[in-house]
Symmetry: C2
Subunit: 212 residues, 2 copies
DNA sequence: TGTTGTGAATCTCTTCACAGCT
DNA sequence: AGCTGTGAAGAGATTCACAACA
């Protein structure tokens, strides 16, 4: 009942609402949420409507009710176990980010090929040899994986994760994964992102019409 | 003449084409490019058409010609100077990634508040005190910035970058930046990404109909 | 036969416009 | 007066279907 993009926006609303609630706020208008989430007020109202929330013309939306509604909508999504594969620079950065900002998504283990990394605790997360990947995922029932391995290892690693039971992936490797469509993949390709920004920020901002 | 999303896809095509060219390939069919880029053959043909490239029914597209066409389309975009602000875990990971995979986007400097980081060379990139940010950007004419600072510093840092002349940003901070619409911003919010994946990978895959 | 090029249809998301409420 | 709720319109992107061609 809510678009794929909409789910992303709702998580942003949740974040903004949590801040407002912490600050002692009681009510919020769609316009404010829109500003916080970087979208329009109409879009906010549509999204909130789509997940059953409702507000009053006088006071807008009740923050506590809204938060509760979003939590109910997201359901078990926010309290899941996660594994991360590839404890390089990026892997460590992601581990740190998750630990400090996403406490409810528990990273049960990080995996790496390098022996000298395994056995240690990195950013509060135990690091295990890649060989134990299947065991841990199956035993813990993990459904979400984060891929921070080098590009050449991405496809093979993804397949291992899928075989072990993973149902959703955040893929930081600059590679398009070839996997069945019933597994949700979110690509985080910083190369593409950077080149896109470079394109739209380029000095020659003149339109190129029909072929250069 | 090409959508915002299309530009992102074209950069992926370019990557795939470079690999094919290195392997000695001469021609490529839209279907192959589609597989490499994770999209459909029709989409590829539309994109290529939009940037003026054309193929033959017999042999598909000529790889060299296509690469050349894409380079001409992207123009100066790929050879730009970039600055990065925030040399934490994530910043270092991004520096390493750029150095190894995006050699043409030259990161002229990384900035950080912490004195013990500045003055050193990290991942092949000189690290300067944040105070020199405006000077370097103006002097070098940098138009692209990467934000890897902590969330609380993101808005203020972004404003400093914009005042100094930055026209496009890759924002890794989990914050919606409030900046003028003529500056291109690409958000790379791993929190949103993870929560979205968690949602679509959740165990309770049952549809929730009209309100819970 | 298999592929490109492309008008038309479709689908999805977003915005507009405004009725209804307080 | 200002906000929510929502049908209708609009804009974009993607897919369908097929003509043209080698």
């Amino acid at each position: 009942m809510l678009s794929e993009k909409g789910v992303g926006r709702v998580t942003v609303y949740r974040r903004a609402l949590a801040v407002l609630a912490d600050a002692g706020g009681r009510e919020v208008h769609s316009r404010e949420l829109a500003a916080a989430a970087g979208t329009s007020a109409v879009q906010v109202r549509r999204d909130l409507l789509a997940l059953g929330a409702t507000g009053s013309a006088r006071h807008g939306y009740d923050i506590a009710t809204l938060l509760d509604g979003i939590e109910r909508f997201l359901g078990t999504a926010l309290d899941q176990k996660v594994v991360l594969v590839g404890v390089g620079n990026l892997g460590r950065a992601v581990l740190a980010h998750c630990a400090s900002r996403l406490p409810r998504l528990r990273i049960v283990a990080a995996f790496d090929e390098d022996d000298w990394k395994t056995g240690r605790v990195i950013k509060g997360c135990r690091c295990l040899p890649a060989g134990e990947l299947e065991d841990v995922i199956a035993r813990e029932g993990v459904r979400v994986g984060i891929l921070t391995v080098p590009a050449p290892a991405a496809q093979e690693t993804a397949e291992r994760l899928l075989r072990a039971g993973i149902r959703g992936l955040v893929n930081f490797a600059p590679v398009r994964l070839r996997i069945p469509p019933d597994v949700f993949v979110q690509d985080m390709d910083m190369g593409v992102a950077l080149e896109r920004v470079a394109y739209f920020a380029r000095p020659d901002d003149g339109r190129r019409d029909i072929a250069g």
